[in-house]
């Protein structure tokens, strides 16, 4: 295990722990308006380590609870998109011919539209965004790249000798795919999933910042940044709290993804 992988694992592990135990770790209720008279936009202090926002909510508590929201959304969205991408990539790579051509042209079309615009368009049409809708939309727009990756990997694996050997031994087609082809494509899928989580967190933060993501008052890092936007000069700590969390998390997943890549496949690192 490389240092990078250890660092990535530790950081992501810490984030997961924070997300799970957020209610216990947070000093205040993340949506409680503590003191609307004198407690608004307070700078970091002993009582509020990250300060408070416009509604006198404790930012540390909001960031901790935001980890829950952001990580959950990102994880479910990535599981959805990786599953879709794997199924499509596997189908395209194994069948070939016109099925492959049709699927890959559809993927090209999907990739040609910048994801953030695609998301904005879909979410704008969707009245009263729920978190579930957000997860679905993030998941359904994130599988194009994965499907290409899986297809390429499947094509290289299926030409390898052990596939022919297993086939010659009478191993059935379904088992051939699930036991022989798929596990040999697992490494890039895992790496892509890890990097995907970081990316989806970034996208979700962007959407929430634009007011099209997680609906307030539920805390997400994106809408914390948004809350701080009018006060960037007077109370920069508000946006910094959300932004810092995003930066740290995306970095953690990137480091983990790179570390996993090295570990799973030393040749390609």
């Amino acid at each position: 295990m490389s240092r990078r992988l250890r660092l990535g694992t530790a950081l992501v592990g810490a984030l997961v722990v924070v997300a799970i135990f957020a209610p216990a770790l947070a000093p205040y209720d993340p949506i409680a308006q503590l003191d609307l008279m004198d407690g608004r936009n307070l700078p970091p202090s002993g009582a509020h380590p990250l300060g408070t926002d416009l509604y006198s909510r404790d930012l540390l508590s909001r960031v901790l609870h935001g980890a829950r929201v952001s990580l959950t959304i990102a994880t479910i969205a990535v599981v959805l998109s990786i599953t879709l991408g794997t199924v499509v990539g596997l189908t395209a790579g194994l069948t070939g011919g016109w099925v492959d051509a049709a699927l890959m042209r559809a993927v090209d079309a999907g990739l040609a539209i910048p994801r953030i615009f695609l998301l904005l368009a879909v979410l704008a049409l969707w009245e009263g965004i729920s978190v579930l809708a957000l997860v679905l939309v993030l998941g359904l727009t994130g599988w194009f790249g994965t499907s290409r990756l899986v297809r390429a990997e499947v094509q290289s694996v299926r030409g390898r000798d052990f596939i022919a050997a297993a086939c010659a031994a009478g191993v059935g087609p379904l088992r051939l795919v699930l036991r022989h082809v798929l596990p040999n494509t697992a490494a890039p899928i895992i790496v892509s999933a890890t990097l995907g989580v970081g990316y989806v967190i970034l996208v979700e933060a962007g959407l929430s910042y634009l007011g099209m993501g997680v609906p307030p008052p539920l805390p997400s890092w994106g809408n914390i940044i948004r809350d701080g936007h009018p006060f960037l000069v007077l109370a920069p700590w508000i946006s910094a709290a959300g932004g810092g969390a995003v930066v740290l998390t995306v970095m953690a997943f990137t480091v983990l993804g790179d570390g996993l890549q090295e570990w799973l496949d030393p040749r390609r690192a």
Binding site: G159, R160, D161, F162, A164, A165, A166, C167, A168, A169, G170, V171, G172, R175, R179, H180, P183, N184, A186
Partner: protein, 328 residues
């Protein structure tokens, strides 16, 4: 007595950018029960494609041409439905490939790859399949068989991997074992052990064997009968002893001269001039005539069929019809 495996007019072509390659062209042979037939020839003459064709393992753009026939135990394999074909693969006819390094799945344990084959053909409890796999590993000469079940392919040496491949091939007691250059990728010392093992297991399991090799020495040690292939065709078949005593086809004679011998007086090793032509452009008439020292007009205009050359012998050469020219 009808043969266990009857191959008739087998033709396998590949559509390539350079044209249609007739990699295997009208090949016919019989394999009888408990018989070992060696298919011998240079690289590119169609031996391996023949082996793959027998189990319909040729991948597109390769295809077996209509009119070919492969009968195994009375059943036509070329029209067999997929599920029946799957049952023949492994349980009727098993194959050991050339590269033990790449023929095992790197992410699955050895034990799983053996039991998987057993489960693919028989409904047996997991425990029983496991016991059979351990027994097979012992049989192919792997020490610490129960521990080795948990090994991954990269933890084994080349020779060990080939032993595992043989164990997989034998796991469902096939009637025919195809060994496609089974020792080419191995060290010389290991080669001899693997060949010995194959011969021993062939007798023990009463299997017929189709041995594919470019090495006449290997064929001599293990085969009852040898079929020599050149340019997609069988050019000579003969019982092993007869073939070595008196090769009928000049190509066979060339192969024999090219093999160094340990017995008899020392002599220079001679190779036939030139090399196998590309499969998209086999020479017209007799395909060997551009490299043949005896070639005359007839060889350039007419292709001989397999001519009767004595007891159980055939050769695709006009010299069989006009033996006097051999002296000239």
């Amino acid at each position: 007595m009808s043969a266990l495996l009857q191959v008739r007019h087998l033709t396998t072509t590949f559509d390539t950018a350079a044209g249609v390659a007739r990699a295997v062209d009208d090949v016919s042979f019989d394999l009888h029960e408990r018989e070992t037939l060696a298919l011998v020839g240079e690289s590119g003459c169609g031996k391996s494609v023949t082996a793959l064709s027998l189990l319909r393992l040729v991948e597109p753009p390769g295809q077996i041409v209509h009119g070919s026939s492969i009968r195994f135990g009375g059943r036509e394999l070329l029209t067999l439905p997929p599920e029946d074909l799957r049952q023949v693969r492994g349980a009727g006819i098993a194959i050991v490939f050339q590269e033990p390094g790449t023929s095992l799945n790197p992410v699955l344990t050895v034990g799983l790859q053996i039991t998987e084959t057993i489960h693919a053909h028989e409904r047996v409890p997991k425990r029983e399949a496991r016991e059979r796999a351990v027994e097979l590993l012992r049989l192919v000469g792997i020490a610490d068989a129960p521990q080795r079940m948990r090994s991954y392919p990269h933890e084994l040496s080349g020779g060990m991997r080939q032993r595992v491949m043989i164990a997989i091939a034998l796991s469902c007691r096939p009637k025919v074992l195809i060994a496609d250059e089974p020792t080419t990728a191995l060290d010389v010392t290991v080669q001899a052990q693997i060949l010995e093992l194959l011969a021993e297991l062939r007798d023990r399991f009463a299997m017929a064997m189709l041995l594919i090799t470019h090495n006449l020495g290997i064929a001599a040690g293990i085969a009852d009968r040898i079929a020599v292939m050149y340019a997609g065709r069988i050019v000579e078949t003969a019982p092993t002893g007869a073939l070595f005593r008196e090769p009928l086809h000049p190509y066979t004679a060339g192969l024999l001269r090219a093999a160094p011998r340990l017995d008899g007086p020392a002599r220079p090793v001679a190779a036939s001039p030139g090399s196998v032509p590309p499969a998209t452009a086999w020479p017209p008439a007799c395909r060997f005539h551009p490299r043949c020292p005896y070639a005359w007009d007839r060889c350039r205009t007419d292709e001989p069929s397999l001519l009767d050359g004595g007891p159980a012998r055939e050769a695709r050469c006009w010299l069989v019809a006009e033996p006097l020219r051999r002296k000239a």
